[in-house]
Structure formats: structure tokens, C-alpha cells
């Protein structure tokens, strides 16, 4: 996918400095709906925004598999076990697709997947706030598929037309598989919602716990809240279409009627849809807490990173053993 030098040699050349003519041609291409490929000229801030977005997305897929895999041995039936196993495997697959896309973008800086893993363990590479949270009951396994993946689907489908070709192609595949994840989650939720008192209790308790994380998922409405935000640059370069707040509103519009239809409530007595303003009015989550969580100071941040670290270290010998071509092939 990259060709910095003629004839497919993958040697890296130095990154090209800002060039107004090239910049104008680039903007004209993305305005016309053209897709940018890894070896096309692109502005530095476009490349950097993509690396940040896609490496964070890729690592989040992998870190997201960790809280879910805890439920594979504890799934209540064989069918549920197979379902959640398939989902965990999908998440790892999504991570691999996305890391590949990020690697091609990082190539001019001489960075590789190994560097991303180091960044993750050093807390320089952040992952989604929701995956820093604990899962306590089986209802959480359903909640992750239904509302956490629901939130992810809202933000990922918003980028299906992204100007960057490789990311947009990865997202087509990812979003198709997310449909399975969403229905897998709905099925667990539906069984609990229509179950006995205990089942309904753990479902409500789970939603109460996940609520602030779900609101936080889309990020703050503006940079003033947390000090930085890449949303403007992402919209300017047609990576995504909508702002954080627009996506959160879309999520509330899609999912609140479903939440209420199951007889569930959310821990915010003020939440309602304002017909005049045409938007959901809700209590803001604690954005200071959000900052702490994504910095790696969430309730499960340390444990999850440790699992990742142990897996990485323990499997080092496998990677090294496999590094050469098998004999006789």
C-alpha cells in the first residue's frame, strides 16, 4: 500500500514538507470524494490525526476483547459461550486490520507495531474509556455488546465514507461484523429483561454503572472541557462527518427509546428530548474523571495493561521461533 520509492521498494524516504500546490490538490481530491491511499501525498496534520485515531481505535479493539473474554468461561449456555467467543475473536481481528492501517501511516516516521505496543504499555497510546471499566455480572457482557458496541457503531458508521481509503475499507468489514455483535448483545439483554426479578435487577444495575461511560464514549462537546480535541481537523479532512455531540445525540435518539421500551431507566432523572431544541437534554458526566480514565487511571486500567504486557512477554518466544521460514517449505 505504500510506495515511497519507485518500483515497489519499501524503503522509506523522508517526509515531504508542506507544499501549497500539493495541499490544494489534496483538498480538491477529498472534496471530490476521492480516497487517499497510504503512498499519496498528504498534509502532516492529516497523517498525524489518522495515526492517532486509527492506532487508538486498533488498540481499543484489542483492549476491548479483554473485559469480554473474562465471560467466555462464565457464559451461561454453550450457545452464549460460542457467541461471545466469536465476538472476542472478531475484536482481535479488527485490531489487526486497524494496526496494519496505522503501520503504513507511521512508516515515514520509522515506527512499527512494536512501537505501538510499547506506547500502549507506557500509557502514551490511549484506549477507549469504556475498556478501563470492570465487568461484574453477566448483564455486563450483554451491555457491552448492546450499548458499548452500539456507541462504537454510531461513531464508526460515521466514518464509512472517510477520505482515507485503507481506513474506510477496514471499517466496511468491521461495521458488518458489528451487526453480529449488536444482535448478540441484544439477545443477552432481551433474555435478562424478560427474565426473573434477579435478572432484571442485574440488568438495571449494569446500565446504571455503564451510563456515565456511555456518555463519555463520544468525548467532550468541545476542546474547552478537556483541553484538546481532534474533532475539527477530522471533519475538515472528511475523516468523519459529525461532531462528538452530534454523535452522542444520535446515540441517545437511537437507543433511549429501546432502553425505555425494556422497562429500564438511566441514572439521570433530568434526561428528556426537547422538541423545540430538537435535542436530548442530559446531565453531563464528570469530564475530569474521563480525563483520568483515558490517562490510564481508570478502575481496571492497570490490570488490563498488565494482561496485555504478560501476553506480549509470554509469547515473545513464539514470535521469535516463528520468525524464520519453516524447514522444507
Amino acid at each position: 500500500m505504500y510506495n515511497y520509492v519507485e518500483d515497489g521498494d519499501s524503503k522509506t524516504t523522508a517526509y515531504v514538507e508542506h507544499d501549497q500546490a500539493k495541499y490544494d490538490a489534496f483538498m480538491a481530491r477529498i472534496e471530490a470524494g476521492d480516497k487517499i491511499e497510504a503512498d499519496d501525498w498528504m498534509p502532516e496534520d492529516y497523517r498525524q490525526a489518522l495515526i492517532k485515531l486509527i492506532s487508538m481505535h486498533g488498540i481499543s479493539e484489542i483492549m476491548g476483547a479483554l473485559p469480554e473474554k473474562e465471560w467466555v468461561p462464565k457464559a451461561p449456555t454453550l450457545r452464549r459461550k460460542l457467541g461471545i467467543m466469536a465476538k472476542v475473536q472478531d475484536e482481535m481481528g479488527h485490531g489487526q486490520l486497524l494496526l496494519r492501517v496505522a503501520e503504513d501511516l507511521m512508516k515515514p516516521y520509522g515506527k512499527t507495531r512494536e512501537n505501538l505496543m510499547e506506547d500502549l504499555l507506557n500509557k502514551d497510546l490511549k484506549f477507549h474509556n469504556v475498556f478501563h471499566m470492570p465487568t461484574k455480572t453477566w448483564a455486563d457482557a450483554g451491555m457491552v455488546g448492546w450499548l458499548v458496541d452500539g456507541a462504537a457503531i454510531i461513531s464508526q458508521t460515521n466514518m464509512l465514507d472517510a477520505s482515507y481509503g485503507p481506513y474506510q475499507r477496514a471499517l466496511q468489514r468491521i461495521c458488518q461484523e458489528e451487526v453480529f455483535h449488536a444482535q448478540h448483545g441484544e439477545s443477552i439483554i432481551m433474555a435478562l429483561a424478560e427474565g426473573n426479578d434477579y435478572q432484571r435487577d442485574i440488568l438495571q444495575e449494569s446500565l446504571n454503572r455503564w451510563w456515565p461511560s456511555l456518555l463519555m464514549f463520544f468525548g467532550p462537546a468541545s476542546a474547552e472541557t478537556t483541553g484538546s480535541s481532534k474533532q475539527d481537523i477530522m471533519i475538515k479532512y472528511k475523516i468523519r462527518k459529525s461532531t462528538n455531540e452530534e454523535l452522542r445525540q444520535a446515540f441517545l435518539s437511537k437507543y433511549m427509546p429501546r432502553v425505555f421500551s425494556l422497562g429500564l431507566t438511566v441514572p439521570d432523572e433530568t434526561i428528556h428530548y426537547d422538541e423545540n431544541e430538537e435535542k436530548w437534554i442530559y446531565k453531563q458526566p464528570d469530564w475530569e474523571e474521563f480525563k483520568q480514565i483515558i490517562r490510564g487511571n481508570g478502575p481496571r486500567s492497570k490490570e488490563r495493561l498488565r494482561i496485555r504486557e504478560i501476553a506480549y512477554e509470554n509469547n515473545r518466544w513464539v514470535r521469535q521461533a516463528l520468525a524464520t521460514e519453516p524447514v522444507g517449505v
Binding site: 515497489g8 519499501s10 475473536q89 486490520l97 494496526l99 496494519r100 512499527t112
Partner: protein
């Protein structure tokens, strides 16, 4: 010791859905060798899809178009009409006047069987 990352190669993955389908590019992956690339291709891209064949190709072995070459492909002159059936549409009316049907693509591609003697 060499860096661990140097062990990995980028492989491009291709697969075919059915015997009539073309080989289709799926995505790329990192693998230490061809056998692992084949295994990971199946894990990563063929968990659900119907697939009857898979190829993995080391990316360095592919001569791809450069960015410039691709741009010039999209700017080619639109003067290929003489190579297509576009200019022959008037024949439909001509044949109709002679009470005959047009042998268009749909018709010709349907000639799989001829009458057995």
C-alpha cells in the same frame, strides 16, 4: 540482536468466493513467514465468508503503481468508445425493422447450451 519488528513482513491477502468469482484483494497482515501468513489470513479474513481459495503474497514482491501512476490513470482521456459496443446501439432498431432481435451481451452470454443432435 536484530529488532523483533524486523522479523515481520507485510503480506497482501487475496481470496476467491466461488469458482466463478475473481481473486479478490482482502487486506494485508503482518506475519513472520508465509505459512503463518496463510494461517492468519484464514483467522483474520475468513471467519465467516465463503471462501474456496486463498493467496498470500509478500508485499515487497508486488510491483504496485506509484501514487503518480494512479493519478495519471484516473486522468486518462475518455476516448475508448471505439472499443465498446456503445456506438452500435442503432443496430437494435435496424434489426427490429427486419423483425430480428439484437444479439446483445445478455443474449450472447446466455448461449451456454446448443440443441443436441
Amino acid at each position: 540482536m536484530a529488532k523483533e519488528s524486523d522479523f515481520y513482513q507485510v503480506y497482501e491477502v487475496f481470496s476467491r468466493r466461488g469458482s466463478k468469482a475473481p481473486m479478490q484483494h482482502q487486506f494485508s497482515l503482518l506475519a513472520p513467514n508465509r505459512e503463518m501468513a496463510m494461517m492468519m489470513a484464514q483467522e483474520n479474513f475468513m471467519r465467516r465468508e465463503e471462501v474456496i481459495d486463498v493467496w498470500v503474497v509478500k508485499q515487497n514482491d508486488i510491483r504496485k503503481m506509484t501514487s503518480e501512476e494512479r493519478q495519471s490513470m484516473t486522468n486518462r482521456l475518455d476516448n475508448k468508445q471505439y472499443r465498446t459496443t456503445k456506438g452500435y446501439g442503432y443496430l437494435r432498431q435496424k434489426w427490429k425493422e427486419k423483425e430480428q432481435g439484437m444479439l446483445d451481451e445478455k443474449e450472447i452470454m446466455s448461449w451456454k447450451e446448443v440443441k443436441k443432435k
